[in-house]
Amino acid sequence: MAETTLQEARATGSARLEWALVAIGIAALIAAPFFFYPVFLMKMLCFALFACAFNLLLGYTGLLSFGHATFFGGAAYFCAHAVKVWGWPPEAGILLGTAGAAVLGLVMGFFAIRRQGIYFAMITLALAQMFYFFCVQAPFTRGEDGIQGVPRGHLFGLLDLSQPHNIYYTVLGIFLIGVFAIWRIVNSPFGMILKSIRENESRAISLGYSVANYKLAAFVMSATLAGLAGATKALVFQFATLTDVTWQMSGEVILMTLLGGIGTMVGPIVGAGLVVTLQNTLATSGFPVTIATGLIFMVCVLVFRRGIVGEIYARLLTSVGTGKKE
């Protein structure tokens, strides 16, 4: 009995600690543009949301998609096209991009969930490559040039997004809404079913859950949120190019998630921050980025599969010794 209360006390204690850390993190993000270059921070936020969306699928449903660039880059194209060519306001552009990503997710998910594990990864990769070839040839993407000079416009007709701080806080708001949505999904009864599918798919089926529908739903949600990140990125950088739909981009988001910690809330954010920082540092040094990211990939897989945040969690749990283990 005493032990249980002690455990409960520790649980509430660590929950409080987590909330405190979240509050500190948000405060730091609010203060950050006064100390760092806002475009760099916004790039980080977009990729962090992208990685979190990806983690919803890999970390909480156990499905490794190798095609998430389709949703990220596809949404960027849709948003950029709507804002630049049709003259839509930014919020409508982002909504269209996100909705477009959801549709793409529905189509890709419909095919991919027919196979499991390694085949799932290969199918998503192949379908994403198909979308890439589509983007190369479709006239509205403007091929190698991409859609450039996308105006940021005024949010809801009021807020001038060409001002660095205005767009930064808009992006931060979108990021927080997205991450909150993922947190709600993961901690809902729906999220529990997703985890049960990850842990033991056959058992979930035998319990009467229509696993295929749940997988598809998780896939579409993940794609939608990845699209939200991609559409936002198009407004931040004011362009949408082929880079965002390549399979290298799909690999990048896997690396961010793996490095930070698969199946943790904060891990993908940390991973995205590190990878983006690394890319920015290496871009000026002349050392090829792909070699560095490839090496990190190999090291992570060989010795560091829990990722940074996952490793910290594991250390904390063993040092506290409450016996609560994964």
Binding site: M122, I123, Q137, I291, G294, F297, V301
Partner: protein, 295 residues
């Protein structure tokens, strides 16, 4: 001029030949993937990089040591195979006990590193590598002109595919291999060195990729990026064929290459997409793949 479906027969046969050559490479590469996957349960994402590596070994041998095509045809697969065995020993062998997805991720990282290194030293532009004089020129078959080297690619790939099939299905070593695929513990209990078998298998799969690379060097240019897009098409080939059978991988490779060639004749815009479309249709009709056994 003779026409077929409203298209000059020369153009038709020409594209069919291009399709057959692409199919030869699809077949060799998906065969290598199937061999590796069969025993190791690893999807070798580095297969495209190893293919590129093979082509570069040929190019480097010629440029720096003056070693020509014929020795390179043996040396390139050997180098890539040995490289593969070292990788398997040092890294992949540590990953067999965990989720096979990690093998995919590891080889993905490996592919990035290999490609990054070659890109760093040789840029993204292709290096020319000419066919040996014995295989230069072409023959007029009456209905079309056939460059000799292209014919050689088809013949060589058929020989290699057939040879690999015989090795696995008809020899004693192959029977060990197939047995170890079914039940590694039992095979080890019979005194077969299964870890060695795994290393050799990965070496063989890598060597196949290396051979495809050197074979491709005179057809396409030798470039650091030559393997990275190809490998994804090969993945689609593998999904269509199913990785259950060696023969299935070979047949599907040639079939999809031909399908691609045919599409180029009738609707060129879709030729990049056709393999993926076929994959989607196969997934709808027969999710296990054309030759697959698992559900």
């Amino acid at each position: 001029m003779t026409m077929i479906f409203g298209i000059p027969i020369q153009a038709f046969l020409g594209q069919l030949l291009v399709g057959l050559i692409n199919g030869s490479f699809y077949a060799m590469l998906s065969l290598g993937l199937a061999v590796i996957f069969g025993l190791l349960r690893v999807i070798n994402f580095a297969h495209g990089a190893q293919y590129m590596f093979g082509a570069f070994v040929g190019y480097l041998l010629l440029t720096y040591l003056g070693i020509g095509y014929w020795p390179a045809l043996i040396l390139a697969p050997l180098v890539v195979g040995i490289f593969g065995m070292v990788v398997e020993r040092l890294a992949l062998s540590k990953l067999y006990s965990i989720d096979p997805l990690y093998g995919l991720l590891f080889t993905f990282g490996l592919a990035q590193v290999i490609e990054g290194i070659f890109r760093y030293y040789y840029g993204v532009s292709g290096q020319p590598y000419s066919a040996p004089v014995q295989l230069g020129g072409g023959v007029n078959l009456g209905f079309m002109f056939l460059p000799v080297y292209r014919g050689w690619v088809v013949v060589a790939s058929l020989i290699v595919c057939l040879g690999t099939w015989i090795l696995i299905e008809k020899t004693r070593l192959g029977s060990y291999l197939r047995a170890a695929t079914e039940n590694p513990t039992l095979v080890q209990a019979f005194g077969v060195n299964v870890p060695l078998l795994l290393t050799l298998t990965y070496g063989l799969g890598s060597a196949l990729a290396g051979f495809a690379g050197i074979l491709a060097a005179p057809v396409y240019q030798v470039s650091p990026l030559m393997g990275s897009d190809l490998i994804i098409v090969v993945f689609a080939v593998v999904v269509v064929g199913g990785m259950g059978s060696i023969l299935g991988a070979i047949v599907t490779g040639y079939m999809l290459g031909l399908a691609e060639g045919l599409t180029k004749v009738f609707y060129p815009e879709a030729s990049n997409l056709v393999v993926f479309v076929i994959m989607a249709v196969v997934l709808l009709v027969r999710p296990a793949g054309l030759f697959g056994r698992d559900a």
